[in-house]
């Protein structure tokens, strides 16, 4: 007998998933792996729900259609409550949403990845992608910046990246009791001091708005064209469906047309 249809289809309704692993990354951030198996592009995001607490957009920081990893910074209600979960606990997810990095169109390029703080999370998906499709891309250079050595994300992963890619890490500040051999200062300084030309290169940037502004300025000084630069924009999001309006930038929906934009698509948009 046909099962009586009792539920209504709604794009707002998330699916229940289970936490497969939980890794503390820093004092205020952690990475979870969940059994949410969907095809997606690097740079896309999902909407994560804890019923009764709320919902928020979180970037997918892995690249796999068998599971999904999310790196979460504890800034408010939802993220602090997510931090309290354990392996085996349930949460709800819908997605994936948005336009990611157009990796297929960028085959054959050398790749520069510039990430600041939790902006490294969506970029980690690209690195996973490149590792799985290594022959399609040339040299890969990573510039990653964190506040202090204690804030460095994905430490285990980064060790592995070092074997295949040119990885540079800087920290903004070096507290007295910490040990760190790399440069101290903003990640933007590392990029500025590096001899790089724009030949056959694409640049992926993600980080706080101010950091992205500075990076783009530096890249322009190094003669990079707008269409070689890809950024991941952050905006307040309530729906991820192109409806609620909160994420709009000068008529573009960050949740539909972004969050990844090629710089020439966004540069005229100012504050809107």
């Amino acid at each position: 007998m046909a099962k009586k249809k009792t539920t209504i289809e709604s794009k707002f309704l998330p699916k229940k998933v289970t936490i497969l692993s939980y890794q503390r990354e820093s004092a205020d951030s952690f990475t979870i792996k969940v059994d949410f198996a969907v095809k997606h592009e690097p740079g896309q995001f999902v909407q994560v729900t804890l019923p009764g607490i709320g919902e928020a957009p979180i970037s997918i920081c892995s690249y796999s259609d068998k599971f999904m990893e999310l790196n979460i910074r504890e800034v408010g209600d939802l993220t602090k409550n997510l931090a309290k979960l354990k392996v085996g606990d349930k949460l709800f997810i819908r997605g994936p949403y948005g336009k990611g990095y157009p990796m297929k169109d960028l085959k054959g390029n050398n790749v520069i990845i510039i990430g600041g703080g939790c902006g490294v999370a969506p970029l980690r998906g690209i690195i996973d992608y490149i590792e799985q499709n290594r022959a399609d891309y040339g040299d890969v250079k990573l510039f990653l910046g964190f506040r202090t050595p204690g804030d460095i994300l994905f430490q285990e992963k980064i060790k592995g990246w070092g074997k295949n890619f040119d990885v540079r890490i800087s920290v903004d500040k070096l507290p007295a009791d910490s040990c760190f051999a790399g440069p101290v200062g903003f990640v933007t300084n590392m990029v500025k001091n590096e001899q790089i030309d724009n030949k056959n290169k694409v640049v992926f940037v993600c980080g706080p708005p101010i950091m992205m502004d500075v990076v783009i300025k530096i890249l322009k000084e190094k003669w990079f064209n707008d269409d070689q630069i890809f950024i991941s924009a952050e905006r307040l999001m309530h729906c991820a469906l192109g409806l609620c309006g909160h994420c709009m930038i000068h008529g573009k929906y960050t949740c539909l047309d972004g969050p990844v934009f090629r710089w020439d698509e966004l540069k005229e948009c100012k504050n809107d």
Binding site: S10, K11, P51, R235, L236, C244, G245, G251, N271, D272
Partner: protein, 326 residues
């Protein structure tokens, strides 16, 4: 299609017959509940209908609800509530509001089919009303209006309406009520379809005004209260939040409510960063969404020229005047 006439005396009989299959809504001026403001309400008597004034509350509140339960949660899981809605017949919708409704339909029925909106909206019979004269702030004549009613009513001399029928359902209905709908040869010419005095906005394209100093005049008077958003029949933005049942925190609802882009919190993210932080950014954003962004994306202006956002603005910022002077 054939046109008909309907004597205003027979409006009551029309409503009675519609009431068999529909909840019949019409603009009502209610001094007791709404402080004398006009609002679309269920009517059973034509006496209470007010066609002489445009509604204070936007028609969208009947479909895109001010508050909607997206799903209920409990330990058993998540469930979308089933809505049981009686079909609506809405009488007295002006051309501007038909345009706004068409835009809302576009978003919530076509772009992202929304079961909550569709449940309220499907099978609705739309009976439009062609108003004779523009109110002080109207500018619908400057807008390329879209959207059709099933039936359109035009004022005729002699206390009558001319009735234009635009859908098969409506034709069946009108033909079944032979006693009150009389066939006629009268047709509405292009000139009579215009609304007198409604052609206020002289600028067709706001694209080049982005950095114009002219905005300042409006910005200085704006209180960022978002009354313009909430009265607008076209605005379709919303917030989402969860509400727990206070007696059992394990259960509750995810709620969608109207949102206003004129409020600072509309673009606030972590670290208290507000993308549209100044009144200028917000004021201009609303006008741009209404007159440009929506058109770029969907081909029609979001704005219908109804003038509510000026009429009900506490400081009466006439952005049409402002644009015209740019």
């Amino acid at each position: 299609m054939t046109n008909f006439t309907l004597s205003k005396v027979d409006l009551n009989a029309f409503i009675k017959s519609l009431s068999k299959n529909f909840d019949v809504y019409a603009p009502v001026k209610d001094h007791v509940v709404d402080g004398g403001s006009v609002r679309f309400k269920v009517v059973s008597d034509a006496k209470v209908i007010c066609l002489s004034e445009n509604a204070y509350y936007p028609l969208k509140e009947l479909f895109f609800r001010k508050k909607e339960v997206l799903f209920k949660y409990s330990e058993k899981g998540l469930e979308v509530p089933v809505k049981k809605v009686k079909s609506k017949a809405i009488l007295g919708i002006r051309r501007c509001d038909l345009h706004s409704l068409a835009n809302q339909d576009r978003i919530y029925m076509r772009e992202v089919p929304d079961p909550y909106y569709i449940a309220e909206r499907e099978k609705t019979l739309l009976i439009g009303y062609h108003c004779k004269k523009a109110e002080e702030y109207c500018f619908c004549g400057s807008i390329d209006l879209q959207g059709n009613a099933d039936i359109m009513l035009y004022e005729l001399p002699g206390n009558k309406f001319l009735v234009e029928v635009h859908s098969d359902n409506a034709l069946r209905l009108v033909e079944s009520l032979k006693k009150i709908f009389k066939k006629t040869d009268i047709v509405i010419d292009a000139e009579s379809r215009k609304i007198e005095g409604s052609n206020r906005l002289q600028k067709k394209d706001v694209h080049s005004f982005y950095d114009n100093p002219g905005w300042q005049e409006g910005i200085d008077k704006c209180l960022s209260c978002a009354a313009c958003n909430f009265h607008c029949p076209s605005c379709y933005c919303f917030n989402i939040h969860d509400e727990a049942n206070v007696h059992n925190m394990k259960e509750g609802e995810r709620i969608r409510t109207w949102a206003g882009c004129q409020l600072k919190s509309f673009t606030r993210v972590a670290g208290e960063h507000i993308f549209r932080d100044t009144r200028k950014d917000r004021f201009r954003h609303r006008i741009y969404h209404q007159l440009q962004y929506f058109k770029e994306r969907y081909g029609t202006t979001l704005c219908s020229g109804c003038g509510r956002c000026i009429r009900f603005c506490p400081t009466k910022i006439d952005f049409i005047d402002i644009l015209n002077r740019m």
